[in-house]
Amino acid sequence: MSVLEVRNLQTHFFTDAGVVKAVDGVDFALNEGEVLGLVGESGSGKSVTGFSILRLVDPPGRVVGGQILFRGQDLAQLPASEMRRLRGNKIAMIFQDPMMTLNPVLRIDTQMIEAVRAHDKVSAKAARDRAISALSKVGIPSPAERLDAYPHQFSGGMRQRVAIAIALLNGPDLIVADEPTTALDVTIQSQILAEVQDLARDTGTALIWITHDLAVVAGLADRVAVMYAGRIVETGQTDDVLTTPGHPYSVGLLGSIPGHGQRGERLTQIPGMAPNMAHLPPGCAFAPRCFNADERCRTDAPGIEDMERVRQLRCHHPLTKAGGTP
């Protein structure tokens, strides 16, 4: 069953330099226990998509259109008070910087017990037990003793794990994780990925994992969505997309990563640079950088292929047919 269904989401920023269509018609659905990897160029709207789902977009930004159906209920229409009740309870977010979650002047136990009791009227003792169990789930040794520490007494990797533990506290149905391991070392990163994998498998929590790192997506995600200039340009089963990318941008992105060719061989470059989001070209936003672009690409924006299919592509000249393995 779908935990989340995002339909034609549009989030725009109304700036002096013009309207920035940071998210401009994003569609995707997420089932229980499913992990969706959200990748794409810097500035393509990945974080804004995540913030929109949690209704954390601040002015001059605003969700201007579309639906965010969480278990059938449209979050875009929900009163702020009800949204607050869902956030940190049924829906949680993990940020790149754990200090976005943690309060530097409060002890970990105070923060965690408060987070439990804000949504669940249990005794302090029960809340404390739940905090201990969440900390041990994310691999923090002797959690009961660490509870009375302040955030500064933890290393960066530990702080991130505490932030993840807080996201897990109330057994959310959906977690949006925005580059939570980018600043961490590979050894700590894989520890966190292991915990996240178990979580999706054991509790059915659905995950949106935003990252730059396609290799992480390869190992973690069931499905991947590639964003460019505010839109999803390709989505499908992770293996399909990574082995036979269909959108020229996905092809370029994959080619630019070291590790598949010969050591020392030249890497494929995507020419040009990311578009100015306040002044997007009229046709396909990728056309100025695309090796396959023709006149049609420069004038008509391509639509996305059939929503029902597993593999979707937004391109006039895809390199693979949409449809994929059903």
Partner: protein
């Protein structure tokens, strides 16, 4: 092969000042105090002319500190660094100064290392004029040549840094380093802040420059797949100490030190399909209170009693250097 750069027992200590969170905590009555870190602890290795040596290890293990000492931006606390035989750690010597000009460093964050109020032409040309590589009158032509070398349109010379994309800014930083005609480049996480598609441009540029200008590199990065791509040899650090040195091929195919093994095991790989991530036990210990003996022993699956007692030495055996008791008489 004679060494271009040679480090012998190079060390650096820091007194660790409190960060903002700690200062705040102290004001609120928590007991935090300043302490001493051995950021780099007796590092010895060499780099041959024309070689690319990768330097890898966890955050805080001392990579940047080592790089900054080699670049002459930070004095050593002990040991010597020789560049073509000249001791560059001797700040007073004139030979050291000329030698140091031939070593340049490219920094992690292209924006914060470029003066926002200077035009590209001045950023790139300033040091070259100062060191007499060109004159103020000929600077424009000189800079134009260097900008072309890094793939930037010379017409950009009159622009300011904020008018460029991340990848272009990183090229300006590279142009600035190249302007003084260095032979040795230290790249400290020079591509970490860039978008994946832009990273490829800069990696390719490094490879081209290596060929065209016969450059030698110390390439610092925590991205192992990038290091695997670009380096001939790799130096692995853990908590201030070098634990393994090997050719890139040998290191990735057959890592010897348990830490290197764990590290290479954890690198996410594109072609590997769905992975089951494994948890390695143990926390990265604080550099302020590193474990005795082998610093890695609390996390090491192979550790024995000797590992908690004696510090393993970096031993060279058949071209591979490893600092681990397993490779030096056993862990009992």
């Amino acid at each position: 092969m004679t060494a271009m750069l040679e480090l012998s027992d190079v060390s650096r200590q820091f007194v660790k000042k409190l960060d903002s969170i700690e200062k705040l905590a102290k004001k609120l009555g928590a007991s935090v105090s300043e302490s001493c870190v051995n950021a780099v602890d007796s590092a010895s290795f060499h780099i041959a002319r024309g070689e690319v040596v990768g330097l890898v290890g966890e955050s805080g293990c001392g990579k940047s500190t080592l790089g900054r000492m080699v670049a002459g931006l930070l004095p050593v606390s002990g040991g010597t660094i020789r560049f073509e035989g000249v001791d560059v750690t001797d700040a007073a010597s004139a030979d050291a100064k000329t030698a140091r000009l031939r070593i340049q460093m490219i920094f992690q964050d292209p924006m914060s290392s470029l003066n926002p109020r200077m035009k590209v032409e001045e950023i790139v040309g300033e040091a070259a004029v100062y060191h007499g590589l060109t004159t103020r009158r000929e600077m424009s032509a000189y800079v134009a040549g260097i900008l072309r070398q890094v793939g930037l349109d010379p017409a950009y010379a009159q622009r300011f840094p904020h008018q460029f994309s991340g990848g272009q800014r990183q090229r300006i930083g590279i142009a600035r380093a190249l302007a003084v005609r260095p032979e040795f480049l230290i790249c400290d996480e020079s591509i970490a802040a860039l978008d994946v598609s832009i990273q490829a441009q800069v990696i390719n540029l490094f490879q081209d420059l290596r060929r065209e200008l016969d450059l030698t590199y110390l390439f610092i990065s925590h991205d192992l797949s990038v290091v695997e791509h670009i380096a001939d040899r790799v130096v692995v650090m853990y908590l201030g100490r070098i634990v393994e040195i090997a050719s890139t091929e040998a290191l990735f195919d057959d890592p010897q030190h348990p830490y290197t093994q764990a590290l290479i095991d954890q690198v996410p790989r594109l072609g590997a399909g769905r992975q089951t991530y494994r948890t390695i036990k143990g926390e990265i210990p604080s550099p302020l209170a590193p474990p005795p003996g082998c610093h890695f022993h609390p996390r090491c699956p192979m550790a024995g009693p000797r590992c908690t007692r004696d510090t393993p030495v970096l031993r060279n055996d058949a071209g591979r250097s490893v600092a681990c008791h397993l490779h030096d008489g056993g862990t009992e």
